[in-house]
Structures are given as C-alpha cells and as structure tokens.
C-alpha cells in the first residue's frame, strides 16, 4: 500500500465512526461577510486565542503555585527562581488583561452591529455570562500572589458585595472565609479560579461557539439593507481562517512584547497590620463600576446612597443584558435608535468614569 492509500483508509475508518466529512463539508460551505465593518469580526477570535493562552500559561503556573500561607513565597519563586517563570507569569497576567479588553471590544461591536437580534439572542446572553465570568476570573486571580497591592485591592473590592442589604455581609464573609482577607480567602479564590470557574466557563464557551457556527456572522443593518447580490462574502476555509490566524499572530506578538518589555512585578508581601499603601485602586476593568458607585455615593450620602447606587447600577446592567428583547425589529425604528443611543451612553459612561477614577487616585 502507498502512503496515500494508507492515509485514505485511515481517514475512511475515522470518518465512518466520527463523521469527519460532514464537518469538512460544513467548513467548506461556511462563509464570512465582507464589508466596511468586517474588522470587528476578528475580536471574538482574538478573545478565544487569549483564553487559550490563559489555559496554557495557567496550567504551567499551577505546577509551582501553592495556595494558602505559602502563596506569596511560591509566586516569588516562580518570578525570580524558576527558569522562565517570570515570562509565564507575565504572559498570564498580560493576556488576562488583553482578553478582557478584547471581550469588551467584541461586546460593543456586537452591540452596535445589532448582532444580538433574532435569532442570536442566546449568543448575546451567553457572551454576557462569559464576560461576567471573565471578570470574576480576573478578580480571583488578582489576589493569588498575595502581595501588598493585591491584598488591599481585594479588601476594597469585597466591600462592594458587602453593601447589598441583608445578604451582603454574609456573601462577603463567605468569599473571604471570615471577617478579613487571609490565607483562607486565597484558598477559596484559588479553588474558584482553577476549578469552579473553568468548569462553568468551558461548557458555556462551547455553547457560545456552537451558536456562532449555527447562525454565522451577523451583518450590520447598513449591509442588511443592501440587495443580496451586492453583498460580498469570502469562504471561511481557508480565506478567513488565514486572516484569523494572522490576527492571532499579531496578538501573540503584542503579548510577547508586553510580557518581555514590561514584566509583571511582584510587590512586597502583604501585611494585614500595615496601613494600606497610597494609591490602592481596582484593576482597570473594575475602575468604572467602582467609580460609578463612588460618584452615586457622593450624590446620595450614607447607607441609602450605597444601596441606591447598587440598585441603579444593577438596573443598568440588567437593561444592557435584556437589549435583545427590547430592540427586536429588523427595520430601523425608534427602538433601534434608542438602543443605539443607550450603547453610546454606556461607552461614554464607561470611559468617563474610568478616566475620572484614574484621575482621582490618591
């Protein structure tokens, strides 16, 4: 038998059992629309790529990381003793930040292309859930080195759930494993970060990707208005895939650049008795909600203000999540315009509060 016939018979054997040719046929027929806004199609793929980097570097860190009382010491060893530990840790931290950034870009581009409309409501909802999970990933991962900065930032961050009426303090205590951030907190966050969150995230991600395959790429309303013969598209295999890979390569380059030129630092070991160092602030992706709550708190002082702030903030997020059920019509109408302005308002509020937040760090 020649190599070719051997390969063929192996393929046939596998195909009979797994149905590979159906997959190949599906991939052959899949197309991606081409228009002025095509650039935004890459951001979901970039987010996925950065997530894969997270998994790979995360597993490597897991080999040496020890939660609990030794947490800081083990991160110190990873950063300064293990060969290339600094690189893996930097890549993990930078890709986490880049991933949240690209998910945000992905979300807003989906929003403004109105890609959440029928039949893609589940895509929007699962995407929002993935973003929520990603931010919990970020929050829990941030504490793990247990240096000064992560300790105090987590302490401040956990004050937000604590203001929820009635159940708030109980939730905060449960997350902390006691009234204060301690070794128990790091143990809990570790379990959350490497077991609980991935267990929820991965199937949800699979669902999200399956939906994308099922419905294909949405086109923005300006394209939809065109007659079908004027719309352009390219085959997914291999044309779009090639471009997608080129984008992954660029992302990898930017990640390598950031990780090697600006390696993630490690602060001093936390000291629960020491005063909080100056300039403690949440990570950039939490800056906006943090600042919004602070601003609302200064408008309505006291506990009433905190509760009103949380309620108003939750209301905004709920409205954002439920947008597919409000803006339902294909034709441009009042609701479509309202949704558009709501999106612009959200972008503006996000940027403005983040800028104010950094401006007022003390």
């Amino acid at each position: 038998m020649t190599t070719k016939t051997q390969t063929n018979s192996l393929y046939n054997w596998t195909d009979e059992r797994l149905g590979l040719s159906e997959l190949a046929a599906f991939a052959r027929h899949k197309t991606v629309p081409v228009h002025a806004q095509s650039f935004w199609y890459y951001w979901g793929g970039i987010s996925l790529f950065l997530f894969l980097v997270q998994c790979f570097t995360g597993v490597l860190l897991l080999v040496y990381y020890r939660p609990g009382a030794e947490a800081y010491e083990s991160v110190r060893q990873i950063t300064f003793v293990m060969h290339f530990g600094w690189l893996i840790r930097s890549a993990h931290a930078w890709s986490a930040n880049l991933m949240i950034f690209s998910i945000l870009v992905h979300m807003f581009s989906v929003y403004f292309m109105k890609a959440y409309r029928k039949p893609r409501e589940f895509g929007w909802l699962s995407g929002m859930a993935l973003l929520g999970l990603a931010s919990v990933f970020g929050f829990s991962g941030y504490l793990l080195p247990m240096d000064e900065l992560s300790y105090f930032a987590t302490k401040v961050g956990l004050q937000i759930p604590a203001v929820i009426p009635f159940v708030g303090p109980a939730i905060a205590n449960m997350l902390r494993g006691g009234p204060d951030v301690s070794e128990f907190t790091v143990q809990r966050f570790f379990a959350l970060h490497v077991v609980v969150l991935p267990a929820i995230f991965l199937p949800l991600l699979g669902f999200h990707l399956w939906l994308v395959q099922r419905h294909g790429n949405a086109v923005p309303p300006s394209e939809e208005a065109k007659p079908p013969q004027e719309r352009k598209s390219i085959p997914f295999m291999p044309n779009f895939l090639r471009k997608d890979l080129a984008m992954w390569l660029i992302s990898l380059n930017i990640l390598a650049l950031l990780a090697s030129v600006f390696p993630w630092s490690l602060g001093r070991q936390f000291d629960a008795l020491a005063p909080a160092p100056a300039g403690i602030h949440p990570e950039w992706y939490f800056m906006s909600p943090f600042e919004m709550l602070k601003l609302l708190g200064s408008v309505l002082p006291g506990e009433a203000g905190e509760i009103a702030g949380i309620l108003l903030f939750t209301l905004g997020i709920v409205l954002w999540i439920l947008i597919p059920f409000y803006d339902i019509r294909k034709e441009s109408g009042q609701r479509a315009r309202a949704a558009h302005y709501f999106g612009l308002l959200a972008v503006f509020a996000l940027l403005a509060t983040t800028v104010i937040g950094y401006w007022t760090i003390r």
Binding site: V34, F39, T79, F80, V81, H83, F84, G85, W86, L87, K232, I234, N239, R242, K243, L245, A246, L249, I250, L252, N253, A256, L257, S260, V261, P263
Partner: protein, 470 residues
C-alpha cells in the same frame, strides 16, 4: 559643559529625540527604499507585454509617487530638521563634537539632499510628459542620491557607537577632522549600512502595501494580485540577511558593549536581563510576525488585502524599527560617543580634572556663586539640583521616565549617599559601570547631589509645612 541644560520633566530629554527620530526613520528609510522601489517597478511595468496590465501598473505608480513625494518631501524633511533641533538642545556637547568632525560630511549630505528632493519632484511631475526612458533615468538618479544620504548619515550614527582607534588617538587634540575618513568608515559602518539598506527595502515593501491595499480587488484583481505579491517580495532580503548582518554587527561592537547583550542572555531565564536584550527579543519576535502576517494576509490572499491589514503590517514595522533604534541607543551606554564622551556629556579624559576642581566649576551656564556679585538667592535652584540636571538628566527624570524618586524609594539619606559614592568611585567591579557614567565631581558635589535627591525621595518636615501652608 559649555552649554545650558535643557530640562524636560517627566518625559526626559532623550525621548524628545527618540519620538522625533523613530518617526523620521520610518519615513527617511522609506525614502531610500522607496527610491529604489519606484524605478524598479516602473522598469518592470515598461517591460510588460500586455498593454492593459502595463497601463494599470503605470497608473498605480503615478498615484504612488505622489504619496511618496508628499510623505518623504514634507514629513521626512521636517522631522529630519526636527532631529537637529532636538539633539542641539538635549545633547549640545555631543552635537558640537559631531559638527566639529563631520561638518564636511554633512555638507556632502546636503548636496545629495538637494538632488534627492528635486529629482523626487521632477519624477512625479514629469510622468507622461517626458520620454519614458528619461523618466526612468530620473528615478535612478533619485535612487542613487537618496542612497548616498543614507551612506553618509550611517557613518555618523555608527561613529557614535564605535569611533575607532584611529580617531580616538587624536580625539581632544584639535586634529580630529584629520581622521575624518577613519571616523566615517568606522568598525560598524559596513554591517550597519547593510542592515539599514535591508530595512529600507522592507519599509519600501511595507509602505507600498499601504498603497496597493487601496486598489479595489474586485474591479482590478490582476493588478492588485501582482502588485501586492511583488511588494511582499521586498520584505524577503532583510529577513534572509538580517540574522547574519546582526551577528556581523555584534562582532564589530567593542567587548564592553557586547557584554550588555550577553549579560542579558545569561540571565534571561531569571528574568533579570538587560533592556537591550529585551529590545533585541522584540525585534526578532516582531520581524517574524511581520513575515507571517505579510505571507498570510498579503501574499496568500492579495485580493482581500485591505487598508487595515496594511496598517497592521505598518504598525508592526514601526514596533520593529522603534525597538531597533532604541536598542542601538542602549547598546552605546554608558557613552554617547563610544569611549570618548559619557551619555551626560562628560568627556572620559576630563573625569580626573572634574573630580579635582568640581563639576559646576566647569559648567559655564550654571550659577556657581561667584563673580557677578549677586547674592546667593539669585539662583532659583540649588547646587545639588544643578548637578542633577547636568549629570543625571540626560537619562533620568525625577518622576517620569526612569524616575529617580521611585528608583531610590525606600532609601534614607545615608543609603542614597552610599549609592552615589559607589557611582563616583566607579570601581571595576561595580555592576553599574557597564551602563552608567561615573558620578563626577568633588566630595562637596557628591554631598550636594545626595542632599538634593534625598529631599526628593524623602520630603522632610519643612517641605510638608510648606505644602500645608499653601
């Protein structure tokens, strides 16, 4: 120390040059590479047998040469003058030394500039107006003239890294200009020239992709495919030759400078490697990415290649170029002119004298408390601050780039003092002497600088009272 200090808070004066220079290099090296690209493309088009393709290529080249003329003739020249402005202000001492040596070199260069700028204009305005062969000849003249501007400036830039023994033997005697050709064709001249020529060719390809990406692939598929693929090929020479040229360049650099790189490679696994090695890594990674991206996005799918793809290649080229120029600057440390002048403008043989007579005694533009009969209050900053500006300010700021307030944070006065004494003694085993000049001056100068830095790092009682009373 014959010139005043130009103090740029936060950014640091070095970055003023850096930002202008990276912008300039992106365009000026394109002017050289593009100078070759245009006549080569025109010649290729003129030899085409199919009249339709030929006309399409030529029409595209007319548009491209306009873009070329505006970009290089306006932005390239303005930023070039900008570099002169910036180096004169930030590094007057080094600029003065360069002018004294290379005034003839710059005169030659300006001759080529004039030829370059006029032929670029003639080339664009005479499309389809003069004989085709004559027009092509104008293109070749442009290519030659622009290459010679590179050949001259490359001599001056590589001189700063490796002035060569012949020049160093006469440095400071007033006979330096007699060794002009030795200085110009210094040890790193040839590897550096080949490296830059390769980069020029790549940049010509990268910029040509910007223009080619704007062709409508549906209306002119053949034109777009051939132009995009031909432009990508311009990236090939540098990616084949670059590794060898870099090794050659490295071999020509003095051992003390090689150590900056090898020190980095030895310690790479612990993550404590030097900035120049990090930058070298960035160049390698980014260059590899450019090859991959250009291959997948442009060469394999030329018809779908659009402006944002082209811009992403340009952005990567900007990163690689920026990292390249940055590491060239870093490699020169602790000198601004190799083995002759430290990065803060202090000449190597003057160190002993300044240590004896004091730093400020040799700074003509700094108030030194004598001569004019004015009271001490005439100066609005202290001796320590004057020494800081002169000796540290070329590379450090207080609170911005390489911030001393943060780098020295956590040290008390005694500790800061010990550190400065270590820089002052500059012993052979000091880890800092590889990339930092010695702190020069008398015992009093060391104390004054220590006091000033201590007041910045550990603001004491009186400073707080002052803040509270505002």
């Amino acid at each position: 120390m014959n010139y005043p200090f130009w103090n740029i808070p936060y950014l640091g004066s070095g970055w003023v040059i850096g930002i202008i220079a990276i912008f300039h290099v992106m365009i000026s090296q394109f002017a050289v590479g593009g100078g070759l690209y245009l006549p080569m493309a025109e010649r290729k088009a003129l030899r085409m047998t199919d009249p339709e393709t030929r006309a399409a290529w030529l029409a595209q080249l007319v548009g491209y040469s306009k873009f070329f003329l505006i970009l290089t003739g306006v932005f390239g020249t303005i930023s070039g003058v900008g570099i002169w402005f910036a180096i004169g202000l930030t590094h007057p001492e080094a600029t003065s030394t360069l002018i004294h040596n290379f005034v003839f070199g710059w005169a030659i260069e300006w001759v080529f500039f004039v030829v370059e700028l006029s032929t670029a204009a003639v080339y664009y305005y005479t499309w389809n107006r003069i004989d085709q062969q004559l027009h092509l000849t104008v293109g070749w003249v442009y290519a030659g003239a622009s290459f010679f501007t590179l050949a001259i400036i490359n001599g001056i830039l590589s001189f700063m890294l490796t002035p060569g023994d012949a020049w160093l033997a006469v440095a400071g005697t007033g006979h330096e200009a007699g060794k002009f050709w030795y200085a110009l064709f210094n040890p790193t001249y040839w590897p550096s020239l080949f490296l830059r020529t390769c980069v020029c060719a790549s940049l010509a390809g990268v910029w040509a992709l910007i223009s080619a990406s704007r062709i409508d692939g549906d209306r002119q598929p053949a034109l777009k495919t051939s132009l995009v693929q031909w432009s990508v090929k311009w990236l090939v020479p540098s990616f084949v030759a670059m590794p060898f040229l870099m090794i050659w360049y490295y071999m020509m650099v003095p051992a003390s400078q090689q150590a900056l790189l090898t020190l980095g490679i030895d310690t790479i696994n612990a993550g404590t490697f030097s900035t120049v090695t990090r930058m070298a890594l960035v160049i390698i990674v980014t260059s590899a990415t450019i090859v991959g991206v250009a291959y997948y996005l442009a060469y394999r799918s030329p018809r779908d290649f659009n402006l944002s793809h082209a811009l992403s290649v340009l952005l990567l080229a900007l990163i690689a170029t920026g990292a390249g120029e940055y590491s060239r600057e870093m490699l020169r440390k602790p000198y601004v002119i190799g083995r002759w002048m430290y990065s803060n403008g202090v000449r190597v043989p003057y160190v002993a004298r300044i240590n004896r007579e004091g730093y400020l005694a040799h700074s003509n533009w700094v108030w030194n408390g004598s001569g004019n009969g004015l009271a001490a209050a005439a100066s609005n900053y202290s001796r320590g601050e004057a020494i800081f500006r002169g000796e540290c300010g070329s590379c450090h700021t207080l609170n911005g780039y390489r911030p001393l307030a943060q780098l020295l944070a956590g040290r008390d006065r005694a500790n800061i003092g010990n550190f400065i004494v270590m820089l002052h003694e500059n012993k052979p085993d000091s880890p800092y002497r590889r990339f930092m000049p010695p702190m020069v001056g008398t015992k009093q100068d060391v104390d004054d600088l220590t006091d000033y830095l201590n007041a910045q790092v550990n603001p004491s009682g009186p400073a707080k009272v002052l803040a509270a009373s505002k």
